[in-house]
Symmetry: D3
Amino acid sequence: MHVVYTEIRRADAEVVKGLSRYGVATIHEAQGRTGLLGPTLRPIYPGAHIAGSAVTVSLPPADNWMIHVAVEQCQAGDVLVVAPTSYSDAGYFGELLASSLVARGVRGLIIDAGVRDVHELTDMGFPVWSKTIHAQGTVKETLGSVNVPVVCGAGLVNPGDVVIADDDGVCIVPRLEARAVLTASEAREAKEAATRQRLQNGELGLDIYDMRDKLAKRGLVYRAQSLPE
Amino acid sequence: MHVVYTEIRRADAEVVKGLSRYGVATIHEAQGRTGLLGPTLRPIYPGAHIAGSAVTVSLPPADNWMIHVAVEQCQAGDVLVVAPTSYSDAGYFGELLASSLVARGVRGLIIDAGVRDVHELTDMGFPVWSKTIHAQGTVKETLGSVNVPVVCGAGLVNPGDVVIADDDGVCIVPRLEARAVLTASEAREAKEAATRQRLQNGELGLDIYDMRDKLAKRGLVYRAQSLPE
Amino acid sequence: MHVVYTEIRRADAEVVKGLSRYGVATIHEAQGRTGLLGPTLRPIYPGAHIAGSAVTVSLPPADNWMIHVAVEQCQAGDVLVVAPTSYSDAGYFGELLASSLVARGVRGLIIDAGVRDVHELTDMGFPVWSKTIHAQGTVKETLGSVNVPVVCGAGLVNPGDVVIADDDGVCIVPRLEARAVLTASEAREAKEAATRQRLQNGELGLDIYDMRDKLAKRGLVYRAQSLPE
Amino acid sequence: MHVVYTEIRRADAEVVKGLSRYGVATIHEAQGRTGLLGPTLRPIYPGAHIAGSAVTVSLPPADNWMIHVAVEQCQAGDVLVVAPTSYSDAGYFGELLASSLVARGVRGLIIDAGVRDVHELTDMGFPVWSKTIHAQGTVKETLGSVNVPVVCGAGLVNPGDVVIADDDGVCIVPRLEARAVLTASEAREAKEAATRQRLQNGELGLDIYDMRDKLAKRGLVYRAQSLPE
Amino acid sequence: MHVVYTEIRRADAEVVKGLSRYGVATIHEAQGRTGLLGPTLRPIYPGAHIAGSAVTVSLPPADNWMIHVAVEQCQAGDVLVVAPTSYSDAGYFGELLASSLVARGVRGLIIDAGVRDVHELTDMGFPVWSKTIHAQGTVKETLGSVNVPVVCGAGLVNPGDVVIADDDGVCIVPRLEARAVLTASEAREAKEAATRQRLQNGELGLDIYDMRDKLAKRGLVYRAQSLPE
Amino acid sequence: MHVVYTEIRRADAEVVKGLSRYGVATIHEAQGRTGLLGPTLRPIYPGAHIAGSAVTVSLPPADNWMIHVAVEQCQAGDVLVVAPTSYSDAGYFGELLASSLVARGVRGLIIDAGVRDVHELTDMGFPVWSKTIHAQGTVKETLGSVNVPVVCGAGLVNPGDVVIADDDGVCIVPRLEARAVLTASEAREAKEAATRQRLQNGELGLDIYDMRDKLAKRGLVYRAQSLPE
């Protein structure tokens, strides 16, 4: 059965805003190296960095009908997450749908398929992370569902999860863990700032992280010579 | 037998010029969702947008000899379309060949293989859509043909077809259909302009395209709740 | 056994500087179409162009411990070359490690795996050629070796080899051949300058390279007509 | 935190046995075209056909430690489902681990990574569906979890779900839906048996499924000629 | 517009039968190294070898409706060739459609997409060359065309062309060239038989093909030593 | 310069024979998890298992001339290892070349490209590990080298190295290490035989390998419940 759930639980707006200050790599680490979608999802232009609440769409290959349905379920601060039920590289999304999402305050699109009109989307400043860029048109014939769990970029996304996306890719933070992950991200960033300064001053990670003993115990051998030829 | 056809029938220059005002996605839709080459062909730099008449080259893997032959067959307003007879990612084309094509007024290159000197080509403003960027040199040992039908990016290209290429990829318009496709593109663009305005004003595609009834008839269910956990 | 060789033989600094004036395509051709790493290695931002001496790292999939070890072996003018022992697209490297390498005067990174923090690396102007961009974190559990021969991007790199990288990809010049390749690159570039001028003036490669006879002998047929329909 | 859940709820053994009579394609259709894992998962030898309850393992790339942990959680009739947290094609599993699973009555392995000893596994008749065959050894250094939800072959698998696998690939039936899917599979198979007979007798699907009207309404045109040349 | 051409011109049955005696590699060579479809098309079981006349189908991604239409256009000795208009790995075809084709005397299927029920198809002895094996179901919503030119496996197939397929892949012989290609195949096979005998007796290709002089002229150097270490 | 080294140093025949008793996975582990070629190299038929001395060929994409040159350098017990200098999936090798190699006592072929006539090669029992199966013909125009180091399947192969290949793939043992690797393989196999017996009897790897403490120290948590829903 194909269902549109018209309600989703979103993370607190302040928490989302807090997470938006950190990059994908930091947040992924802060939540224990989980939540990354796969590296096949790439931004259509460099420099975008967004955070928002996931509105999810499960739909058929090469059929974008359900995106029109999903637009109505979006509100300001959301990020649309679209996943076909089998492989498709078709161009589900272009500048008309983007105009509609912009009118509702949506911050961007994550799609495990193709996108088109990328020149116009770049001019509009509407960021998209997609598997490919492809002008191939889609049909509007077959139903799917909105605000159900989807597998996108080989990762699981639930409606209302926090989506963070930047030049490194896309990371998902489960709604109920968002506040804890924000706290962990702040802590990680603070710690890295200190480390960064020491590294810039020429200290070595070997010393800062106290690795020399562990390396020796594992058996690493140093030879004060070049490789014999 | 390897043949160079020295004549090709080109579409009317005014029609090509007209098509150059529209993007790949619009033209692909206007001709009934046909003509796209595959999404593996990507521009070497963003922002290029060309239209021109195809001069086609069929040549061996990792052998660019026939490109030199094809240059002589090009005239102002043409686009060179190069397809190896089996998979190759070698770098068939660089800035010297580009200099030669620029001198003849050629508008760009579509190649189902690799290209090199992309920094120089970007500086020259000579656009290329290719499968990969690869400096790998090629030989000049084996013949091919010029101005024969080729399969490029999994699509068919005949000599004299109109080639449109932009950030979305490459679309081919058969020569004899070019005028009709131009008319259809103009109509589509006019219609989309009106739709775009309504979407920007916050109207929904569901209403503009009158989709609600059809969705209900297919059985779409709305639940005024969030997904049960 | 896992070994760090703390000495490497580097090419003469003047030779490396000389090679830095030429692009990857030119140097690859000048050394007889050898030395290219595969086209899967792409720069994280356009326009970088470096030359330096290879410090090599062989390490496990999804484990970046040995990069910390390798940093200490780098000196000004080096390029770090990192190759996992089996396929990995994990994000081995980010801005903290880059800060450390910058402090030592390292010119860039070649890695047959993933990289992260690409926005920060771009801002720092620290160039990386990688297989993918991926925030996926790595562990520090298993040893590898430093300054041993590695296969990276399907090409062989020995410690001390000269690495040249630009928008076209990455080329390796064996240390002992570096001076000869520099001479050959200078000669090639001089010859190409003359050819470039002639091509820009509208002369054809067919004539400049005297190809017409050879083509005819191989049996190329010209037909003063278009392809029969 | 890394956790081993030592209990899972399994589907009724009679239901699993019932499902084992149907192929992956039938069951996938019977549950509304859902549940398929991606086509990258292929059997190491033809002809295997299994059904069982999923014991799931989430583990690091190129580290098979958690499989040893998971073995203890398996009982007769289970199928082990293994998913790395990022891409790995390493050889996590071979005949020793298979011997251990056979001793516990496990029916097979689904792994979104590599497997080795395939000759021995074939001789043992222990079926594996994997992304690749690769002898690459793995380490035992980093923890993961057992009996948590995993994304495997781009599909979601929960512990206790029913796994069906045959030459067509792998299909997952959620535990709570297993009985209903069995009923639907029986119905579908019965219906197909009748259709099969009619098709074998030369009747056309166009008539059996009553498609001609719908095709005509959509505008399909028949031309009693061959394509004009 | 979507059209079914109900007539196709087929090659002479005797010529097709003649071609069926030769493998894909021989025929591909005999027609000047043309006509091969790409190596992504693989047989679902080893040992099949067919030749027949192409009935072609162009259809949407993940929609197999037009295959039902095409069945009616097939007659004994035909081979069905199916190409989606954009990338699809869905399972368009299974044993029910195969039963229908067998009833009409069709010899096999070439499909640039997925196939399912491969165990049953193997038992039936109905050969399929496909891009993948995938149980993913398709819809019946959108039209396509039958007996129009299609690009399949990156090669062009016209209705009525002769299709030859074996363990090496698929080769297309244009209908009008079929007789000449048969003659050339016979000649090639005769010549190879003599060469095979000489090679089996230990003569070298270097001598049989008289290559030594040409190699020397190109500059090949023999060194009566092993590579210096 | 293109060179044929007519001498290679081979490992002792008894050592090669000894290694032939072990599979690729065992030998790869016995030499410290090194030497594997990538999993893209697959056997054309199941069940082959060979060991021999590498005769190496470096040659251009889609040009098999140098294989004819290399045949003359082969002797009984050798394995031919062929690597193009850039990507090629063309069909370099078929049954005629195999006949020639069989006449010289060569045990098989490893090729980082395509192979054809696989039905005939299977009938002959001549095993090939290749990247793809493709009938695409090659030319004989450009030189390469024989018995130089090559990168094949992303691994380094030197002439005279021992090649072991089976259903798991291909492993290279450096000539000078062959005897030590044989000893290590024997030891590993002996140890595994004992472990195998214990596992078959139902003992757990957790106990045999004494893993429980290490897991607990790393922080693995057991929960005597199923995952909360």
